[in-house]
């Protein structure tokens, strides 16, 4: 502890008798201001002291630069009593500021009444044990340290432990944690909730063990429900009440408290039990993004949770190797097919019969193709083999059913199917895509056979009403959603409005019906499995092929029917569906930002 004249209150007493002599440079003149302690800890500078008049302003300077310290005043009745002053009000001060280094710091004071001023060189205690810090003398500045410190640092926790929280109604902040889940194995936490209050109030979430997550850097967003509920009380003064934290390093346990501090007062705003975080990334998207009501904000919140979502997705993918695969062969497998049809099944299987009946009527397909159905839905595994057997007996088409034991999504299921495929060409097909007539497959195969520069080719797809569902894909920036989306130009239009009449190079094609070479598939590592459910896998595949120097082609001369999204409806719909798409869009954009930006204004490539 340092003092310009002595130490502690004794020094203060001596200073008082000599304090009248105004001399800026001299040591004794400085006794109107006493420094009781100055500490440098974790990059923070703390100074505690008192002065003889509340009109004496204090600040911290180093090398002539003001350190912009926060000054918290406090009542020092002890000083007033020992000096026979009428009141101790405002005599004490605690100061806190960030300071990279501890040397050359001075306290500058100035008496607004007398005009006297002075400078006191500070002797700092560097990284002292906490019990050596005189917290009573620091007043509110002690607690104010919290907002400068990294949460969960030892000092933060010790500081916090010194402060007791009130459960009384808080006058300066309100809020609640709506969702708090921690994944113990993944070591991550998702927090969603809301708070508002004094702009300078410090708000954090803290569990019973004292592990805390600060909210001062959290993603904030508009919560229409909070607005509606509390508009009468607060007149919309705080618009972005929502907060969202996806922390990939912190685990919380037991009960968590939302706490707020203003000045030295700490209040508990709400209490919530920590849930076990579901393994499903979809559930995390739901919990994180459902309260985000403004479409324009979803993307930013999606950005916040994208790393967490990716963590959960890769943890999930890591499990795949452990699940058991079953293959059932309905009829003998062709020894050397020219093309393998890979059809993932999810949610429903009633399309299969219609596909098989159409395949049954196609002699070329029956001679040259092998058909692989991938059951990508454990719920279907009980019943589908029986149905498949019946279809085989009724329609006489040979095919294979591959069960992966778990849901892997569009990419994972396609990759699983490809792993079992034997042909040099692969045709990935959705279960709700149906040939209009025999003879559709051979031209797609021929395209790949005769165009070495084409990496993937897809046919025209039409809706049941005959209008365009797919005629090549382009990327469009959606300013309202702040994302790049995959767009199907001409969707819903009469096929006569399709600008293409022949095989054409396009930026990307749909994965609903896409043919490619096995060798290319292996070279690029198959379908990227880092997306949720299914949105951008096909454009990702196309970008990957293009990066490998190949073109993407659209063949309008081949036409199939696509019911589109029917098979996905059972997993996510409406608002959640949009949110999943936006999370995927963020992941897509992180992988292909340069290519997407390059496609702006260049919606379609020229013909090959």
């Amino acid at each position: 502890m340092s003092d310009s004249t002595g130490s502690g209150l004794q020094g203060g007493l001596r200073a008082m008798g000599l304090g009248r002599r105004a001399d800026a440079g001299g040591g004794t003149q400085a006794r109107v201001v006493h420094v009781e302690g100055a500490w440098h800890i974790q990059g923070l500078l703390l100074v505690a002291g008192w002065r003889l008049s509340p009109h004496i302003a204090v600040r911290l300077v180093a090398g002539g630069t003001d350190l912009q310290a926060e000054v918290h005043t406090l009542d020092r009745g002890d000083v007033a009593a020992s000096r026979s002053l009428p009141s101790g009000n405002g005599l004490g001060f605690g100061m806190v500021c960030l300071a990279a280094q501890a040397r050359g710091v001075e306290l500058a004071w100035k008496d607004a009444v007398s005009g006297n001023s002075g400078v006191i060189a500070l002797e700092l205690q560097v990284d002292p044990p906490l019990e050596r810090i005189n917290f009573p003398a620091l007043g509110d500045a002690g607690a104010a340290c919290l907002k400068f410190l990294p949460p969960n640092s030892p000092v933060w926790q010790m500081l916090l432990a010194r402060a007791s929280a009130s459960t009384d109604v808080c006058g300066f902040a309100r809020g609640s944690v709506d969702y708090c889940a921690t994944s113990e194995p993944a070591g991550c936490t998702l927090l969603n909730g809301w708070f508002f209050g004094e702009p300078d109030a410090l708000v954090w979430v803290e569990d019973a063990r004292g592990t805390a997550v600060a909210l001062h850097g959290a993603r904030r967003y508009f919560r229409s429900d909070v607005q509606q509920e509390l508009a009468a009380d607060y007149a919309g003064a705080w618009s972005d009440t929502g907060f969202l934290v996806a922390d990939t390093t912190t685990r919380l346990h037991g009960e968590v408290y939302l706490k707020a501090m203003f000045g030295s007062r700490i209040h508990i705003l709400s209490k919530t039990r920590v849930k076990v975080m579901p393994d499903s990334a979809l559930e995390i998207v739901r919990a994180a993004l459902e309260p985000v009501s403004r479409q324009s904000e979803i993307r930013h919140c999606a950005e916040t949770i994208a790393p967490l979502v990716s963590t959960l997705i890769s943890r999930d993918r890591a499990q795949w190797a452990r699940s058991t695969e079953h293959v059932i062969e309905f009829g003998p497998r062709a020894a050397s097919p020219r093309v393998s049809l890979v059809v993932p099944l999810f949610g429903r299987t009633d399309f299969v019969e219609l596909q098989l009946m159409a395949f049954a009527r196609d002699p070329w397909l029956r001679e040259h193709a092998e058909i692989l159905y991938v059951v990508d839905d454990p719920r279907l595994e009980a019943d589908f083999p029986r149905q498949a057997s019946e279809h085989h007996l009724l329609h006489g088409v040979d095919f294979c059913v591959i069960s992966g034991g778990r849901n892997r999504g569009f990419s994972g299921a396609n990759n699983l199917g490809a792993a079992h495929a034997r042909a040099p060409l692969l045709l990935f097909m959705n279960s709700d895509v149906f040939p209009k007539a025999p003879g559709w497959l051979e031209p797609l195969v021929q395209t790949l056979d005769t165009h070495a520069d084409i990496g993937a080719v897809a046919p025209r797809l039409v809706y049941p009403d005959g209008s365009i569902q797919h005629a090549g894909m382009v990327f469009r920036w959606r300013p309202d959603l702040h994302v790049w989306t995959n767009d199907h130009p001409g969707m819903g239009f009469a096929v006569g409005l399709d600008p293409y009449r022949e095989l054409t190079r396009v930026p990307a094609v749909t994965g609903a019906c896409l043919a490619m070479r096995r060798a290319d598939f292996d070279r690029i590592g198959g379908w990227h499995t880092g997306y949720l459910i299914g949105d951008f896998e096909d454009s990702d595949l196309c970008f990957t092929l293009r990066e490998a120097g190949l073109h993407i082609a659209y063949e309008p001369g081949v036409e199939l029917i696509h019911l589109e999204r029917q098979s996905f409806q059972s997993i996510a719909s409406g608002d959640l569906r949009l949110r999943v798409t936006l999370v995927n869009a963020v992941i897509h954009e992180h992988r292909w930002r340069a290519q997407l930006d390059a496609s702006a204004g260049l919606q379609q490539d020229s013909q090959p």
């Binding site: 009633d350 399309f351 019969e353 219609l354 009946m357 159409a358 009527r361 019946e390 007996l393 009724l394 329609h395 006489g396 149906f434 049941p464 009403d465 029917i561 019911l563 029917q566």
Partner: protein, 416 residues
């Protein structure tokens, strides 16, 4: 095709248990095939429901050459059989044992569509003939082509149009329905439409006109009944309704027409209702019909004669001058029209669909505006009040083909 045919007739019911027009037509054709010297063998396979919709799939012998198949359909949207194992199992075995050259299918309702594929799997050379008895493939609403909520007549199916009748099923769901029917219909060699009207509806729907022919159902070779003897001063005032009750048969239109006849000028009109299955209708329909009928019965206009056995039809028809077919759906080829003509009774029917085709207005019967009791009331008065109309129309009747004649036409189709 030449040589003797071996024909398996498949029907959605056996007339021993179910007396619908389709079952009767199927069974009659079976008897016609069996009696025809060109046919080496004929069998009848009728679907039966022993466990109220939870079929065993069992195939059993009813009598010589007649089998029953315990089968059902739960999904009427896609028309899938409940007991599919029996399709690929016992039914296939039966086909292999009987070795038919032709399977003549009268309906897939209650049977599902799958067995059509199995026939070709067992032997692709077996020809499949399918007689269409209503608009089942076109219309989810029991094949009636009547709008589900409003009862309006429907003229055309469409994925979005059908979705408006059944909002719980998406347009894509209706595409799937049509696709499934179309895929199975692709396995059928020849379609038979008992009316040109129905044939055209299926052509509009997408069936190749070359694959569907119109052939009349054959009728029992019964004698024409003499005209109903008239008491002195009485006219042709007795009208009869025959058939099963349903919401689409238009009995309510007939009853309302009777109520509209002006008191004091009813020309002695009297109507006999010979109907079955009233008790199987919804409580609302039963109550509605009773409410309409009771005052008419009290006034002596209406005689509720109730159900009749097949053998009783001639005697009941002998007591009437006219037969009324007031259906509010299109119908196909109502058997009662053919039967009325066999017995020499002119027919008064609604002016739509198969009815209007089979009954020639002003020649062998009269049309009235469908669903319009006022117009039916006028028609009844016109019939009852005229001294010459009945004779004119009765003499215009052409006798429908007999079962033997119809069978010959069907066999000619198989030769073609």
């Amino acid at each position: 095709m030449s040589g003797a045919q071996r024909i398996l007739v498949v029907s959605h019911g056996h007339p021993d248990f179910s007396l619908g027009g389709g079952e009767i037509a199927a069974y009659r054709l079976f008897t016609g095939y069996r009696a025809n010297p060109q046919v080496e063998a004929a069998w009848f396979l009728g679907r039966v429901d022993r466990r109220k919709g939870w079929p065993t799939g069992q195939i059993s012998l009813r009598r010589e050459d007649e089998y029953l198949w315990d089968q059902a359909v739960h999904d009427w949207h896609l028309m899938t059989a409940v007991h599919t194992d029996s399709v690929t199992g016992r039914f296939a075995e039966l086909l292999r044992a009987l070795r038919p050259t032709v399977v003549h299918v009268h309906h897939y309702a209650h049977l599902g569509l799958e067995f059509l594929a199995l026939i070709k799997r067992v032997d692709p050379s077996i020809r499949i003939v399918l007689t269409l008895h209503e608009y089942m493939a076109i219309c989810r609403q029991n094949g009636q082509m009547v709008k589900a909520r409003t009862g309006e007549l429907c003229r055309r199916s469409g994925f979005d149009d059908c979705n408006r009748c059944f909002p719980e099923t998406s347009a894509e769901g209706f595409w799937m329905r049509k696709q499934r029917f179309s895929e199975y219909f692709a396995l059928v060699d020849r379609f038979v439409a008992p009316s040109e009207f129905l044939r055209q509806r299926y052509i509009d729907w997408g069936l190749d006109p070359a694959r569907i022919v119109m052939l009349e159902n054959g009728q029992e070779d019964a004698a024409t009944l003499p005209p109903r003897p008239l008491a002195e001063g009485s006219g042709r005032v007795r009208f009869g309704f025959f058939g099963q009750v349903s919401a689409f048969k238009g009995i309510d239109v007939l009853l309302k027409a009777l109520a509209l006849l002006p008191r004091g000028n009813r020309a002695g009109v009297q109507v006999d209702i010979n109907c079955a299955h009233l008790e199987q209708q919804t409580p609302e329909l039963q109550a509605h019909l009773k409410e309409l009928a009771e005052p008419l019965i009290r006034q002596g206009l209406l005689h509720w004669a109730g159900p009749y056995a097949p053998g009783e039809q001639a005697s009941r028809m002998a007591g009437v001058d006219w037969v009324i077919v007031p259906s509010i759906w299109w119908e196909n080829s109502p058997m009662i029209i053919q039967e009325a003509f066999v017995f020499g009774r002119p027919v008064i029917c609604a002016n739509i669909g198969g009815m209007a085709e089979k009954v020639r207005h002003g020649i062998d019967g009269l049309h009235f505006q469908v669903g319009n009791p006022h117009h039916l009331a006028e028609t009844l008065l016109e019939c009852a009040g005229s001294t010459t109309l009945w004779e004119t129309l009765a003499s215009g009747i052409r006798r429908p083909p007999t079962v033997a004649e119809s069978t010959a036409e069907h066999l000619a189709l198989l030769e073609g």
